[in-house]
Amino acid sequence: MADFFNIKARQAAAAQASSSKAPTTKQEPNRLQPWVEKYRPKTLSEVTAQDHTIQVLSRTLQSSNLPHMLFYGPPGTGKTSTILALAKQLYGPELMKSRVLELNASDERGISIVRAKVKDFARQQLSAAPSYNVMVEDKDAEGGVKQVKYRDKYPCPPFKIVVLDEADSMTQDAQSALRRTMETYSKMTRFCLVCNYVTRIIDPLASRCSKFRFKSLDQGSAVTRVEDIAKLEGVRLAPGVSEELVRIADGDLRKAITFLQSAARLVGNNKPAKGKKRKVVEDEEEEDDRMDVDSAPADSDVVTLKTVQDIAGVIPERTMDDLENAVLSSRNKKNIPYAAIANVVQEMIAEGWSAAQTVGQLFERIMFDERVNDVQKMKIVGYFSETDKRLVDGADEHLAILDLGLRISGVLCQG
């Protein structure tokens, strides 16, 4: 899609955030960005797997009206990307800056700030849309670049948008303060709240919004997206790797893409800037980077399942076997094999395996293990619950994991 304008829009967004600094600097070439940013969807239609939401939002593009909205869902499912893309498509580069206010958890957001910043912005006069005969280039058009009217391309509806990203980290008080503000200015302002945990948004606020749930990305479409990116970057994937990437990332596309990038670098595909020194690259801004696959080295090695699992911090089956065997060796015995379990756990801790990962993988195994009967499983789940809580509270991992192992083992030896 129109990359030239997106770059401008991005600069505009950056300039808005840093009001004092003018964007006089040259934009960093796209290829030197982390891939998650490079492949952030730039239009609604590029957002994968959120079909329902996208369908509804695309309709609002035509109708030029918008309700207050609440986007919620797990990390890396496209919430921020969607609202930014929507805003861009509504206003285009010229108006993005004056019509959209983006606040997020990295901004100070106590009550006073919400009052001040949001009110100030909401109160401002609507900036005028470019007059009807301003032309822009449309790179999407069939048959190459075409001149189209700005207002035809961007509807420029007569309201402003306040995006409160990561709204779940706003205090209750700040949220309450927002209620009035939302109503007072609703004629000219739409709010979009974005969060991971919808339950952290107070009811009166949530009930004022149309809610859009962003699903954890399912295999099909996420896999396609990963494969597309791999193709554009010239990374060769062994069969099954793209599925594995999405599976390990737990439906979080951002994570899947980061893993992909790291895997690509690891197998030696690190020549994206080959033959194109930085200075050269700067002239290429206007070039459609998505078409630019020529720098893909033909001899790049293949990313394998093992590479991917290594990178994702998945604990190898062998290590998990050791742990599970040590724990289960108490079956039909009188005593818990303390030394055996303690040794495996100590080893795992020294290897640096994340406790959360250990707990997750152990759970998968024990709960589907036929050697453990149902009554025992019911007791064991409780221990997993306790351990998870402890880890989140910041308890020591070594003690927590060792305790978990011993307790599971204890359940088995009673039986």
């Binding site: 982390p34 997020n104 990295s106 980061t258 991992e397 003690l399």
Partner: protein
């Protein structure tokens, strides 16, 4: 004079002696230009920091080694002034936000924005972005972590983060989703021996293989500790043999002694005595987790096998309590009391509870 740990710290990826695959991976990332945010985790003394410094050097060249310390003052919303130290080179900064406790969010917000909005001063810099290394990232408050989220995306043209943590369990999912996880395993005992030999050679010390092996074992695969012990042994003895005793740190010796006392006599009087020793440890800034853990490991070999799991159960329980509660000493003492009770009831062959 510099400690051995610092004196012979490898300065670039080539000279890192263990985990060659990891070094390759970091080099590939550093050379690629589109370096992602990293979350580097692993047990302490595994060499996380050394590896990061080496990676920075790969990114920027020797300039990153010219560092200075900046004392900065931040202001909270309640107008409290916070003093905060920043270690910085032209290309990167290093901060430890947990130094300012619950105010870490303020510091992170202000500082990262400032960094993100200023360009790299050195125009010939190899990278457009600056790197901010955040130490003890697992101690960041939820608020501070939340504050990082969009910052990491929005400012990614000018800013990369390297978060350093002992574990990832405390890092919120949205942050984990924005970083590439890099696990640094502790070196094996064999690898520790290799390092000791090399360092010893540079110092001109006589190589005593058996002693090195013992140090490696004692250190619990913690390289920093191993080097400290190695230096201490050599400083305190003229003629080293395989059996030269390795002096443990004071606090560890005290904990050994406590363990001994607890097992010897399980009585209220003894508990009282132990309490003052625990206070002593705390007043020397030994953190409660280290105390409970070390105490547990010292107690276990002295404990009848049947009740070892029970001891771990309570150690884990009270360590968790230490985190949540405010009076650490209560929980430490409760653990000791619990141990005595479990031990007694085992001896008498009945359950008290």
């Amino acid at each position: 004079m510099a400690l051995l740990v610092d004196k012979h710290r490898p300065r670039n990826l080539e000279s890192l002696s263990y985990h060659p695959e990891l070094s390759d991976r970091l080099r590939a990332l550093a050379q690629s230009g589109d370096f992602p945010h990293l979350l580097v985790y692993g047990p302490s003394g595994a060499g996380k920091k050394t590896r990061i410094v080496a990676t920075l050097k790969e990114l920027y060249g020797p300039g990153v080694e010219k560092i200075k310390i900046d004392a900065r003052v931040f202001q909270t919303t309640t107008n409290r002034k916070l003093e905060f130290n920043i270690v910085a080179s032209v290309y990167h900064l290093e901060i430890t936000p947990s130094d300012v406790g619950n105010y870490d969010r303020v510091v992170i917000q202000d500082l990262l924005k400032e960094v993100a909005q200023t360009q790299q001063v050195d125009l010939s810099a190899k990278q457009r972005f600056k790197v901010v290394v955040i130490n003890e990232a697992d101690h960041l408050t939820r608020d501070a972590q939340a504050a990082l989220r969009r910052t990491m995306e929005k400012y990614s043209p000018n800013l990369r983060l390297i978060l350093v943590a002992n574990s990832t369990s405390n890092i919120i999912a949205p942050i984990r989703s924005r970083t590439l996880l890099v696990r640094v395993a502790a070196p094996t005992e064999g690898e520790i021996c290799d390092v000791l030999r090399v360092v010893g050679k540079k110092e001109g010390w006589r190589d005593v293989e058996g002693l090195n092996a013992r140090i490696a074992k004692e250190s619990g695969r913690n390289l920093r500790r191993a080097l400290l012990m190695y230096e201490a042994v050599h400083a305190q003895n003229e003629n080293l043999t395989e059996n030269t005793p390795i002096p443990p740190p004071d606090w560890e010796a005290l904990i050994s002694q406590i363990a001994q006392q607890i097992v010897q006599e399980r009585s209220p009087a003894r508990l009282l005595q132990v309490r003052s020793e625990l206070y002593d440890l705390l007043s020397h800034c030994i953190d409660p987790t280290t105390i409970i853990k070390t105490l547990t490991w010292k107690l276990i070999p002295k404990t009848p096998e049947e009740i070892q799991p029970e001891v771990v159960k309570w150690a884990a329980f009270y360590e968790h309590r230490c985190r949540l509660g405010s009076k650490v000493i209560f929980h430490l003492e409760a653990f000791v009391a619990k141990y005595m009770r479990v031990y007694e009831s085992h001896l008498m062959g009945l359950d008290f509870d």
